[in-house]
């Protein structure tokens, strides 16, 4: 108890010191003393409330002062974040900074990051949505490619059709894509009703290095088609995007089973199989294969342990036998197997006696 009371007392002291430090920093910044290190005082300043108009004015002046170092201007902008979130005039002022091509890249990029941070719950951003969208669309063509990519990402997150078209173009022509292809697929994939399956299947086909079109009827046998490693992220994102569609469960199971593909791709595929019949079939194939990668076999065991339709799996006697057999492979497998049977209210050993 004493320990707790002492910690509270220490905290109370620190809170008061912080308040005093803020008061002092505020005074120095408002006085505008040129001999002070402005950035040090900005750091000690609390976040500014939008009723503190004098301080807002002072900080805006610092942000706009191109004579000052970039980090000082960024610090001042950061302290205005709470006001910008609720004040349309300040938000539009920030839009103008981000849009100004003569401004420093650092300040513009920080400004855009600030917009992302306030996007959760900002009333100003809500009411200025059209202006915000216009700024982002302008930025997509900016010569600063980092800004362009970030703006495109934000637009696409909000399911903007123009942004989605640019993403699709980038997927088909990776040389001019503003964002990594894997991210483009992910962004399109989150729009589950967007009808982007065809382009995602194209991207998957290209990443897998196969000439056969990839669609829901496709079954893989890629043993001779080792795709380049850099394509792994593209394959994985395509799988996540297509997993929302039950028609693709066979395709995903095929990828999970294909030994030509990397462990990373295969484990993601295994974890994306939702249909218990597909999972049971795959698990029997992989776990019973003595030539199979041990990690992939463990992935299958973990997927069985975490499947949503466990009762369906439990009725598969062959699968139970497979899980029993693999228990002998190592302690890890034995633990996983035991847990699988515990979930069925059985023990691994007693179950064997029952001849399952």
């Amino acid at each position: 108890m004493d320990e707790f009371m002492n910690s509270l007392e220490q905290l109370r002291l620190e809170v008061e010191q912080n308040k005093e430090s803020n008061v002092k920093a505020r005074r120095v910044l408002l006085d505008g003393d040129p001999s002070t290190n402005v950035n040090d005082y900005i750091q000690k300043l609390s976040y500014v409330s939008n009723v503190d108009e004098t301080l807002i004015y002072a900080l805006k002046g610092i942000v706009e002062n191109i004579e000052l170092p970039s980090d000082t201007r960024i610090s001042a902008l950061e302290k205005l974040i709470d006001c910008i979130a609720e004040n349309e005039d300040l938000l539009n002022w920030l839009f103008s900074i981000i849009s100004a091509t003569q401004e420093t890249d650092e300040l513009r990029e920080f400004g855009l990051e600030l917009l992302q941070r306030i996007s959760f719950g900002s009333s100003a951003l809500q009411s200025q949505r059209p202006a915000y969208t216009a700024v982002l669309k302008q930025l997509v063509t900016d010569k600063n490619l980092s800004l362009a990519g970030s703006a495109l990402t934000t637009l696409a997150t909000n399911k903007d059709p123009e942004a989605q078209s640019i993403l699709i173009d980038g997927i088909r022509n990776p040389g001019r894509s503003l964002v990594p292809v894997s991210r483009a697929i992910q962004l399109l994939g989150t729009d589950v009703k967007g009808g982007h399956k065809a382009v995602i299947e194209e991207a998957l086909q290209s990443a897998l290095g196969t000439t056969e079109p990839v669609n829901s009827d496709f079954r893989f046998n890629l043993k001779n088609a080792m795709p380049p490693k850099e394509n792994n992220k593209v394959i994985i994102e395509a799988l996540y995007a297509l997993a929302a569609d039950n028609d693709h469960s066979g395709l995903i199971a095929g990828i999970a089973a294909d030994k030509a593909l990397t462990r990373d791709v295969r484990t993601n595929a295994i974890n994306l199989i939702k249909a218990p019949a597909e999972l049971a079939g795959l698990a029997k194939q992989i776990i019973d294969d003595p030539e199979e990668d041990t990690q992939i076999q463990l992935s299958c065991m973990n997927a069985l342990l975490h499947n949503s339709d466990a009762p369906f799996l439990y009725e598969d006697v062959d699968l139970n036998r497979t899980v029993q057999r693999i228990a002998a492979k190592s302690v890890l497998f034995r633990n996983a197997s035991e847990k699988y049977f515990q979930q069925q209210n059985l023990s691994l050993d007693s179950d064997m006696e029952m001849g399952v």
Partner: protein, 411 residues
């Protein structure tokens, strides 16, 4: 001779104890009084208990008592010891010894169950929490929580004075739902003012891919198979394993005189809360209407609630009749802000099942789940007024909510 223990009118096998002292009775069957000593079986290992003869007494680690003869009870109080929470169920053992000989007369395993820093969880605690979450999602109920928070309930819970109490109840509801199957589990908090290297990892809350933010999980982590609202997997652009999001500092947050106000951004909702969400850069947690789809939501909000609890402890803001504790005491009858749902005597949606305006027009879920099978009272009630979650330790009301944070003791 037999000895029986009763904790908060409960006798059974499962004892989950927090920091709020619980009234206990000890009875024995012999015809002579018995002089005994109460203590922890193992000192400074596992969860630890402290004892008081009266609730207002200073807590001690050993307590001498005289148990009257023939089943007349002796009364005392037990609580968890500050900073000595359990790491696993029943790792705390209360022993009653003969005061003279030291012979053990009675033992009872318990758990000192409090909400802990997610970064400090043991492998076992982490696994239990993840399994509990996954099972709950598998049952289909997790999506109900998303619906309550998002489409229907967003206006009940956000941009208003009731932001903090509403979310306190929301967290407690989920925690109690998880505890039905996993009674040893509590919601952990992500202390976003400190780096959390053990939180943003493949074996816990995931590690983002640097190119696209796809979270990587270990095979054994059930979140690898996370799927909510038809979306598989999780995305966050930024991780805070080695740094912290840029937001209001701890001292600045605790220095707020009014945590509850959203007006003029002086409250906690805009900063640090909104900024903590936005700081992840991308993914469901950064969007108010999808945020709870990512379980990091609950760790983030648990910390927001903890910060309110620290503020309460710092300034002793527990008296629900004081406007310094919460600004709107009484009944909400206003149609302009603060609204119905912002006052201490208002019931909270969805637990009140109220579908009349200005509440949302749909019923979601049911009342607040009541703890069963271990010593706890029915507080907050199934349908409750906001004030029932403000004094969560029952300091003024003597009606605790039966949750605690490991770093906030009962004063």
């Amino acid at each position: 001779m037999s000895i029986n223990l009763n904790v908060n009118e409960f006798s059974g096998e499962n004892y989950y104890i927090g920091y709020t002292p619980l009234p206990c009775k000890l009875l024995q069957s012999s015809s002579q009084e018995l002089r005994v000593k109460l203590k922890n079986k193992v000192e400074d290992q596992g969860g630890q208990l402290v004892f008081r003869k009266q609730k207002s007494d200073v807590a001690v680690s050993e307590l001498n008592l005289v148990i009257p003869a023939n089943g007349t009870p002796v009364e005392f109080f037990i609580a968890g010891k500050y900073r000595f929470a359990s790491r696993a169920d029943k790792d705390t053992v209360l022993v009653v010894t003969d005061a003279a000989s030291g012979m053990v007369l009675f033992e009872q395993a318990m758990m000192v169950r409090v909400r802990r820093n997610a970064n400090d969880l043991s492998d076992h605690e982490r696994k239990r929490f993840l399994d509990a979450l996954f099972d709950f999602n598998k049952s289909g109920q997790y999506e109900l929580f998303c619906d309550i928070h998002n489409d229907d309930g967003y206006g009940e819970a956000h941009r208003r004075y009731g932001f903090l109490p509403w979310h306190r109840a929301f967290l407690l509801d989920l925690e109690r739902q998880l505890q039905i199957k996993y009674p040893d589990v509590t919601l952990p908090y992500w202390d976003f003012h400190k780096p959390a290297p053990k939180v943003f990892t493949p074996d816990f809350m995931g590690q983002p891919d640097s190119t696209n933010g796809r979270l990587k999980f270990n095979d054994s982590n059930p979140l690898f198979k996370w799927s909510v609202k038809g979306i598989d997997g999780l995305v966050r652009l930024n991780s805070f394993a080695n740094g912290t999001p840029t937001l209001k500092s701890l001292n600045e947050t605790l220095g707020l005189s009014n945590l509850f106000s959203f007006a003029n951004q002086v409250g906690m909702e805009s900063n640090p809360h909104n900024n903590a969400h936005g700081s992840f850069g991308r993914g469901p947690v950064t969007n108010p209407v999808t945020a709870p789809q990512d379980p990091i939501f609950y760790l983030l909000h648990c910390n927001v609630d903890r910060l309110w609890a620290v503020w309460q402890a710092l300034y002793k803001r527990y008296d629900i009749n004081q406007t310094t504790t919460y600004p709107y005491v009484g009944n909400g009858s206003r149609t302009s802000g603060p609204f119905v749902g912002d006052f201490t005597k208002d019931t909270l949606w969805p637990w009140n099942q109220d579908v009349l305006p200005p509440r949302p027009a749909v019923r979601r879920g049911s009342g607040m789940p009541q703890p069963v099978g271990y010593p706890a009272g029915s507080w907050p009630e199934s349908v409750f007024q906001m004030e029932q979650v403000i004094d969560y330790q029952g300091i003024h009301t003597d009606k605790p909510n039966y949750f605690d944070y490991e770093d906030i003791y009962f004063q």
